[in-house]
Point group: C2
Chain length 181, copies 2
């Protein structure tokens, strides 16, 4: 991504956080992660992340999704002797569509790009409006899409080890934080 | 506490959450914990709590403090083979004064009732404005006081086991959730 694109993504993420009433420190603003997952089509597929805490016991983040942006299908496997990440998504602002294993929802609301269709394999839909949350068991395939206005979502979880995440789409690279130079 | 007092405390907690832009489900509103810790002087000493998640791995809560309300000194000891609770306080709205072990702050901002003076023993002051946070190591004595407008504070932590908390004030009883009948 170009610096220009990163800069614009950050500004837009900040606007969504503002709508959610969420305040960041200047340092946190600088460190917002803009993750295009190596696909270079951020507005369609990607996620913006603010990590508040990530220790060997606890993790808390804010996820910011642009209107219609997809966080693609993945799971968090067990790492060494620790179970996979257990995570709860709590919608703070906007609307989130969450997809998990189970009976596929007829007429799901998600829109996915045709060329990536086969990389979305779980289709049980959970709709989260502000104040609503969903707890995902460890190592469960899932993907997210923001509603038409975007979404701000708190994630409460055990330790995050992004580098071990398993994405269904083989083109995805979970790169370290993209930083503006 | 009377039902009237519980009702009013809940309404006031909801107003503070609203100022912080935080939305709850109707079920969460009903379950807000109003903890006077058995002292029956809620406005001075106590805390209002919304628990989002508390599993055997992860806990996330919202703490709501009325103007000047004190959450009294306590620590979270190791329980069985698990280290004490590790917790991060993140101020979302208002202002929080947090006190931890260390060099006592000259002219601290906290106001504590004279008759409870000896139950507040750590005096290193940390001021948290919205967006600011502080991570407390396990088993560390600490206490909190809201600033003049109150405070809304997210707590991200390992598992909460309130019944094992050790309070400095021997009069305190960490009762289960007080419920309106």
């Amino acid at each position: 991504m170009s610096n220009e694109e990163l800069y614009r993504a950050r500004e837009e993420a900040l606007e969504l956080l503002k709508k959610a009433g969420i305040v960041l420190t200047p340092q946190e603003v600088e460190n917002i992660e803009i993750a295009d997952l190596g696909l270079n089509r951020l507005r369609e597929i990607g996620v913006q992340i603010v990590v508040y805490v990530n220790t060997d016991r606890v993790c808390a983040k804010e996820l910011i999704l642009f209107p219609g942006q997809l966080c693609p299908e993945h799971r968090h496997p067990a790492v060494m002797d620790e179970q996979g990440k257990e995570e709860t998504f709590r919608c703070r602002w906007g609307r989130l569509y969450l997809y998990v294993p189970g009976e596929p929802t007829p007429s799901p609301r998600a829109n996915i790009p045709q060329d990536k269709k086969e990389t979305f394999t779980v289709w049980k839909e959970i709709v989260l409006n502000p104040g609503e949350q969903y707890m995902l068991p460890p190592d469960t395939l899932h993907w997210l899409q923001a509603g038409p206005e975007g979404a701000v979502v708190s994630e409460f979880s055990s330790t995050s080890r992004d580098e071990f995440d398993v994405f269904t789409d083989p083109d995805i690279r979970r790169l370290p934080n993209q930083e503006m130079s």
